[in-house]
Amino acid sequence: MMNALIFLILFPLFISLLALFLPRALPGRKVIGTIANAVLCAVPIYLLFATLDQGPSYFRLESGLINIGMLVLEVLIAAYIIYLSVRAKRYLPVILVVVQLVTMLGFEFSYGHSIQVEHSMFLDKFSIIMALIVGIIGSAICLYGFGYMPEYHEHHPEVKDRRNYFAFLMYLFLSAMFGIIFSNNLMWLFFFWEVTTLCSFLLIGYRDDKASRDSAFRALNMNLIGGVVFAFGIVILFVSSRTMELDKLLLLDQGVVLLPAVCFAFAGLAKSAQFPFSSWLTGAMVAPTPVSALLHSSTMVKAGVYLILRVSPVMENTVAAQMLTLIGGVSFLVTALIAISQSNAKKVLAYSTISNLGLIVACAGVNTDAAVWSALLLIIFHAVAKSLLFLCVGIIEYKLGSRDIEDMDFLIMRLPKLTAVMMIGMAGMFLAPFGMIISKFVTLKAFINTNPVMAIILAYGSAATIFFWTKWMGKIISIRHGETEVREHEVSNWEWTTLGILAVATVAVCIAFPFISFHVIDPYLMQLFNTVPVVDTFNILIVFVIMFGLLIILPLGLFYYAFINKDYKRVGTYLGGGNISNITYEGAMESSQPIQIKNYYLEKYFGEERLFYIGVFVSLTLIFIMFGVTAI
């Protein structure tokens, strides 16, 4: 079993090096990549079934050499970041890296000899969920990249073609993610944490123009702030309790470990782009689409909530936990409202990501069995549906030449299959009874029992969520007769395969959620709380009736209306009686006026700059309270 874990960390690393050094002209490159991706999917599935009825397992590893190796690499990474920052004349990252390095080196030299780590790695149900997400979705996104990147460079001749380097970073990212989720040794976790920071920095800056450099450095700064606080947390934890292991952290006295836990949660907030750190994620959309998909669904931000969920049991019944809940709540509500005002598709997706993660963070803060149950389900549902949507937008962007939702009129006429896939993703994001809504349902109950204010935030936030998804859905499925410029054949098979996998996965996790809940989530909750939330069987039955009802009615109905129903008379749309054609009408002076249909964005109410700063300031206050109360 331990070999499987080490394999999952080292194998993507190996592939990434292969990607870097194999010449691009090599014909077998994509075949090797495909096989590697298949392996990356298969191993976590094997882990799932091999440990189906087992509790968590911990692994001892002779770690002397590994620790030294990590330390050396950490110094090298720091040196590299300093080099890049100085070259770009940005000095904040330099300061942060130096502080972090001094902290870790000082710690290593004064305490390094006395650190005793019993179990360096571990595997429990939560790690398996994360491994499945990273393995399946992460490698699916890499697969998509095979088809996407050539087109990317066609469309952006000004960007230097560094595809090998790109693939290297993508697989390195996956490797670091596996490292994060299997590490029990906090020093290791921290090392992998910093590797993901570096990878995201380099990937966001892939285009190497001004906008992407700005975004990349913003991401770097915010994640380094998180990293510095993480490092402080490790030092405080060891000095006060002589512990360096994640599982032992939960067994210690709350008074001793609360401050380190809050530090780790802070690092998690930065990584999962919660307020006040949200701007790095919305800036990250300058990167090529696979990067956005990877950051938003299976890696980066999920690493943040992973860590928060791991340490939140320590914070049980504290003011800090309440503040964490509120920070999640504020992020959830404010970003859902901002998303209403955005017409840039990637930005809508980005804000929706922050919003959903806010809900997960809030659940972590509440930390009851029901809350954690829905947090885990949210992680799963969000990962599949959101990656699917990002990849769809990536394709649309090149087929329509725009990523603006306003340009997606009649998408169903132009890219019918893609629109269908997108509808699946969107339904998974907000529509009852699919995906997110199941967990929102349980979340609401958990909130009412602990914190009614959160229930209110959830009520308003859900309404906002309905708004921006429904109007987008409406945009892409509007039909205008005669508008048939199908460009779908230009989408590569790599991309179709990925979309297919993810679309099936989105539906599959909805149908399989009782299985997931029973075999994976419930055992984890038993280990944490000794109880599991009782979900009403009748409700689940109803949810399934609706789900299967839709899965049966929709295809049948579409088939009926497309081929069988002939009893109708088709007319043009009503244009005030002055139709010239379907899209023009007669205006004054016999002029021909075209019609244009636009969505509402309500800038005045939900404008980005207005709400964003409210979110930042409120959450900053909450963070200060969180640290203040804990430090006292």
Binding site: D409, F410, L431, A432, P433, I437, F441, L444, K445, I448, N451, P452, V453, A455, I456, L458, A459, Y460, S462, A463, A464, I466, F467, T470, K471, M473, G474, K475, I477, S478, I479, R480, H481, D536, F538, N539, I542, V543, I546, G549, I553, G557, L558, Y561, A562, N565, Y568, K569, R570, V571, G572, T573, Y574, L575, G576, I595, I597, N599, Y600, Y605
Partner: protein, 294 residues
């Protein structure tokens, strides 16, 4: 006095669902007929026969099927199916939240129908319909939250048989619910997205491109929905079934009264006032209940 509750207990869940599916359109249509009659009296007219809505719907079914695109009617069929389904869930005594989510699903299909025809009027109506949904959604969820706080359950069957008067614990929530009920009933001043009256600036809004049998389906779905909404009003007074039914009907009369006395609001005012009213009446009530529990 408790015959209604006894009836409720004697019938099985399926029987209750079936009763709703069969009886709700009759009741809903009748209410619509009375509505038109009362409204006419308010305006000094005589008004149509009480059964007029049924005649209208029957006539619509015999009309020619005129469409803009082939799939537009499918969305409305789905809208009807899920409206009936949520209503049946409600009267079967199932989970209130599930009912609300299912109704929201029906509403989404309705909106998508308005979008998919690609007509400017219909599009504008659909946009307004979403704004209306967003305006009432928080209050509807908070109503469920409030009932859960008092009774400890989301089950309609449990809430309906709660012995003390819910209204005493949830006056703010009830007031907030009344406010958004005007939106749900599609009454003035909130009938932005589509209106029964012929004088709307966006023609028939949402339903501009829907005619004949499909329009009839929309009308029937509306009847089902109204009965279900009155059922929600009933829950606040369920401790005394006759009082509950009386108040539910009074509520409808009140909505007619509002309808007659207000000109249509702009969406800005509709949306802003709904969220504000929800915040003032509903949220404060929820927080008070939350503090009482602790």
């Amino acid at each position: 006095m408790n015959t209604i509750q006894e009836m409720f207990q004697v019938w099985s869940m399926l029987e209750r669902m079936l009763a709703f599916v069969l009886l709700a359109p009759l009741l809903g249509g009748l209410i619509a007929g009375i509505d038109r009659r009362v409204s006419a009296r308010f305006q000094g007219r005589y008004g149509p026969p009480v059964l007029q809505p049924f005649y209208d719907v029957l006539k619509l079914f015999r009309k020619e099927r005129i469409i803009v695109n082939r799939f537009q009617n499918f969305t409305m069929v789905l809208f009807l199916i899920f409206t009936i389904f949520s209503g049946a869930l409600f009267f079967a005594g199932a989970d209130l939240l599930l009912t609300i989510f299912s109704l929201a699903l029906a509403g989404t299909f309705f909106v998508l129908g308005g979008f998919c025809v690609g007509s400017p009027y219909s599009h504008l109506g659909a946009e307004r319909e979403i704004i209306q949904q967003v305006a009432y959604e928080p209050m509807v969820i908070l109503m469920a939250v409030g009932m859960y706080q008092v009774t400890g359950s989301f089950k309609v069957s449990v809430i309906a048989q709660y012995q003390s008067p819910l209204i005493l614990y949830l006056p703010g929530v009830f007031a907030g619910f009344l406010y958004i009920l005007t939106i749900k009933f599609r009454k003035s001043p909130f009938d932005l997205s589509m209106s029964h009256h012929a004088h709307q600036e966006i023609v028939r809004g949402m339903t501009t491109e829907f005619s004949g049998p499909t329009l009839a389906l929309i009308e029937i779905a509306h009847w089902y929905e109204n009965v279900m909404l009155l059922g929600m009003v009933y829950l606040f007074f369920a401790f005394n079934p006759w009082l509950g039914i009386g108040i539910a009907l009074l509520t409808y009369l009140f909505e007619i009264f509002i309808d007659m006395n207000y000109a249509r609001f702009k969406w800005q005012l509709t949306f802003g006032s709904s969220w504000l009213f929800t915040a003032v009446a509903g949220v404060s009530n929820i927080i008070v209940l939350g503090l009482m529990k602790i």
